[in-house]
Each structure stands twice: as structure tokens, then as C-alpha cells.
Symmetry: C2
Subunit: 82 residues, 2 copies
DNA sequence: CAGTATCCATGAGGATACTG
DNA sequence: CAGTATCCTCATGGATACTG
């Protein structure tokens, strides 16, 4: 949870959960790891570009982590970090 | 705190504190009522239009309340609702 | 002092099609 | 399946000037 370098804790907080779908992603991942497609479905109106983007940002902030299974078709699972 | 009519609690939450300055306003008001100009100063880089707008929205959501003292120069005080 | 009026910039988010 | 590439829209926020 590297959210240092913020003068303001509120800034830090909103930067983490401020994205339109970020809080929801984290929320769903509380119940355990989910595949990309599962998140995509449960979010219903998100576009794949946006979901992908927000997941990456959450990952960059060490909120969630990604696991790639080199299969065909590919399988990518997201889960919360500890 | 009328935040009904939301299918999603996360939506409700971000709608309340999602504005760039809203959470900060609420934060400063925890220590007691503040005048418009006090909030304006402490926020430093907010423009008056935006501050005004976000305060109104917080008011509309019953998060804060406004008190106007009919003096000259005018005095307007904001505080958290209970 | 506490706003409003105007006008402007930006980027977050979205739709759709395509690919390894 | 899990994204990327392109292109687009619009809300949010901002700068500045003005006013009761």
C-alpha cells in the first residue's frame, strides 16, 4: 500500500478509490480472486478498456495483484494483496 | 444524509465525497464551523466558483449546512449537519 | 465577503473493432 | 479470454472579472 508522498491523506484516499470502478473492483475481490471476465460481467456497464486501465492502476498501487495462467484461452486472475 | 435511491453503496459513497474538494471541506468542518473565506484560504488552490459549487452540493445532500448572517460585509458560515 | 457569470481546458471515461 | 487501438463525448474543474 505505497501511498506515501501525499501531503494530504484525503488526496491519497481518493487517488486509490476515486476511479469510477476501482472501489467496486476491490469490493468484489474481497470475496476471493476473480477472473477478468468475471469482473467485466459483474460491473455490467464498464467497457473493457476502462476496466483494464483501472485494474492496472490498482495493481500499480499494490492494492490488487494479477496472476496470468499461460493457457489457451488465456486465464487472468485478480486478487487483493495482503 | 439522504443517499437513498442508489443501487450501489459504493456509488453512493463516491457521490458524496468524490468531488475534488468535498472530502477536504468536510474534514475541515469537523473542527467546527468555518466561513466561506476560511475554507477558501485553507484549500489554497480552489477557485471560488468550484468551492461554491461543491459546498452547494454537500448542502443539497445534507452533509453540511449554511448559515447566513445578514451583515455588511456578508458573513456565511458552514458546518456539518448532525 | 461571498458569491455569480463567462468562457475555457483537460482528462476520465466510453463505444467499437480488432488481436495474440 | 483478456486485453489494445482508435476515436469521441462530456462532465468536472479552472481563470478571471464582476456584483449586492
Amino acid at each position: 500500500m505505497k501511498v506515501y508522498d501525499y501531503e494530504c491523506p484525503i488526496d491519497a484516499t481518493l487517488n486509490v478509490i476515486g476511479g469510477k470502478w476501482k472501489a467496486s473492483c476491490v469490493y468484489y475481490l474481497i470475496n476471493g480472486p476473480k477472473r477478468y471476465s468475471e469482473l467485466f460481467e459483474v460491473l455490467e456497464t464498464v467497457s473493457s478498456r476502462i476496466l483494464s486501465k483501472q485494474l492496472k492502476e490498482l495493481e500499480a498501487q499494490d492494492i490488487i495483484k494479477q496472476e496470468v495462467f499461460p493457457e489457451s484461452p488465456p486465464k487472468v486472475v485478480y486478487s487483493l494483496t495482503e
